[in-house]
């Protein structure tokens, strides 16, 4: 599903590369943790996968396609197959829960009928069926992250990228979010999650890829944080 072949990426203002000669192969339906301290290249790894960044060298394949060869107008199609969630949720404060989720369908031109049926179903799935008319600032952090997961998953993407999704949440709430991500993974969605939450990584016992100064220093099935 995801394949990196000798991928390197450096930012102009930094002397150390953000990612150095990375080789990774992730198959469909896998759940992968990216671990490592801040600045180790986790976010760059994720941003390369949906073409928010371009690699300096190497090739990246997503769903069998070399995304480096992909022309610009196809990038939106790539992103429709990749859901993204973030530490800061990136919800729109002027829209309700339902509207935030519906927005993701609206802007890719889905018909109204689909939106009407999909939005309540996905809100139910993430456990917010009774809070669809609430605004983000009326929700707890965990609930906001559930909205953002609903928005990322409503389009049934093949891949879900999660950048520190529990970074702003307490341990108890984090467990709830991880259960939700695990459920989504069970539906066949490949999940790649950057985290430096030791407790979560150790509990889940999934594949762990450890980055240090942009290099992959460990790739371990059913691994732990350290």
């Amino acid at each position: 599903m995801i394949k990196l072949e000798g991928v390197s990426k450096a930012y102009p203002q930094q002397d150390r590369p953000a990612l150095l000669d990375a080789y990774v192969d992730i198959t469909k339906g896998e759940f992968v943790f990216l671990v490592g301290p801040s600045g180790s290249g986790k976010s760059t790894f994720l941003r390369l996968l949906n073409k928010q960044e371009e690699p300096d060298t190497g090739r990246i394949f997503v769903a069998g396609k070399d995304i480096g060869q992909m022309s610009g107008w196809k990038v939106p199609m790539l992103r429709r197959n990749i859901g993204s969630i973030f530490q800061d949720f990136k919800l729109l404060p002027t829209k309700t829960v339902a509207e935030n989720v519906a927005f993701a369908l609206e802007v890719i031109g889905r018909p109204r009928g689909v939106i009407k049926s999909q939005v309540p179903a996905i809100c139910e799935l993430v456990g917010l069926g009774d809070k669809m008319t609430k605004y983000p600032d009326q929700l707890s952090g965990g609930e906001q992250q559930r909205v953002s997961i609903a928005r990322a998953f409503v389009n049934r993407p093949l891949i879900l990228l999660a950048d520190e999704p529990t970074g702003n949440l307490d341990p108890q709430t984090s467990i709830g979010i991880m259960r939700l991500l695990d459920r989504i993974n069970k539906t066949g969605t490949t999940v790649v999650m950057a985290s430096h939450d030791r407790g979560i990584v150790d509990t889940m016992r999934k594949r762990v890829i450890e980055l240090s100064h942009g290099s992959i220093v460990r790739d371990q099935a059913r691994g732990v944080y350290e």
Binding site: N50, W73, P76, M77, L78, R79, R80, N81, G83, S84, K90, L92, F103, A104, E106, V107, I108, G109, R112, R151, A152, N155
Partner: protein
């Protein structure tokens, strides 16, 4: 995959009312610059109309000495008949001149009493075969050297001066209009950039979930287009009013040369159409560039 119409209208409307003062400033700037452009076009057409309406009447008058001899009159007549540059000429004798004089000063009988037909100079009304101003001038200088000719008066002198002046002012206005249009486009660019900035979170989400660039761009371009069109509409009213005022001004003045300067409403409409096109282009393109620069950033 088609963009839903209701979504477009909702987005465009929201953008317009989100920052009403900026919207208004943009619309007014467009209106002012397009008004300038419209008036420049108006003057240009007016000049064209004057020039064409006088093309057929580029006569000049050859004034003869009061005490001219008949042979001399004949000599002038012969010259005018022989040169190929003269289409036709009419001799206006004393009686005809006096009659015209009487008509002209009908309001002032005291003046009429002072003038005897014998004291008036006679003249030739000459219609040249070519409307070329330089040619007529040369011809006139040549005629002035004939004995018994006191003066050659060109109608074209006045017209040329006026049309030169109008042409000049129209060029100045066109340049000013270009600058104003540039300012309008820049303000449009800024206005849309502000709108884009206000919606940067939405745009970020849109890009993440896979909205196409055009999908993000079109509501902003539509907003720019609408602002451009509104400005253009305002400028059409201005141009229309200016044309009306010009017309009544010259009619009141009784100006012979300028009687055709104001253009008919149909031509104002055609100028209006041009202004609408330019307004729409400034709006849509300015907005498109503003959003694209943000999208590529």
């Amino acid at each position: 995959m088609a963009i839903r119409i209701d979504y477009l209208f909702k987005e465009t409307g929201q953008n317009l009312v989100r920052n009403p003062s900026l919207s208004l400033a943009t619309i007014l700037t467009v209106a002012v610059s397009l008004s300038l452009m419209g008036v420049a076009l108006l003057v240009q057409r007016g000049v064209d109309r004057i020039n064409t309406s006088f093309k057929d009447e580029v006569e000049f008058v050859v004034w003869l000495d009061v005490d001219i001899q008949n042979e001399q009159i004949q000599a002038v007549q012969n010259f005018l008949d022989s040169t190929p540059f003269v289409d036709s000429s009419d001799y206006i004798d004393r009686e005809a001149t006096y009659e015209e004089f009487q008509n002209f000063f009908a309001e002032e009988p005291e003046l009429l009493q002072l003038v005897e037909p014998d004291s008036l100079p006679t003249s030739f009304q000459v219609k040249p075969s070519d409307a070329n101003v330089e040619l007529i001038r040369e011809l006139g200088t040549e005629i002035e050297t004939i004995a018994g000719v006191s003066d050659v008066e060109f109608a074209t002198d006045n017209i040329k001066a006026i049309s030169d002046f109008s042409q000049g002012s129209s060029t100045v206005m066109a340049v000013a209009a270009l600058f104003a249009a540039g300012a309008a486009a820049l303000l449009m660019y800024n206005s849309i950039r502000t709108a884009v900035f206000a919606r940067r979170r939405e745009i970020e989400v849109m890009r993440l979930v896979g909205a196409t660039k055009w999908f993000i761009r079109i509501p902003f371009m539509l907003e720019g287009l609408l602002q451009g069109l509104m400005g253009a509409f305002l400028s059409i009213f201005t141009v229309f009013a200016v044309n009306r005022l010009t017309d009544s001004f010259f009619t009141d003045l009784g100006s012979y040369v300028f009687r055709d300067f104001a253009v008919p409403n149909l031509q104002v409409l055609s100028i209006g159409f041009i202004l609408l096109l330019i307004g729409a282009a400034i709006g849509a393109v300015g907005a498109g560039v503003a959003v694209t620069r943000y999208l590529d950033a």
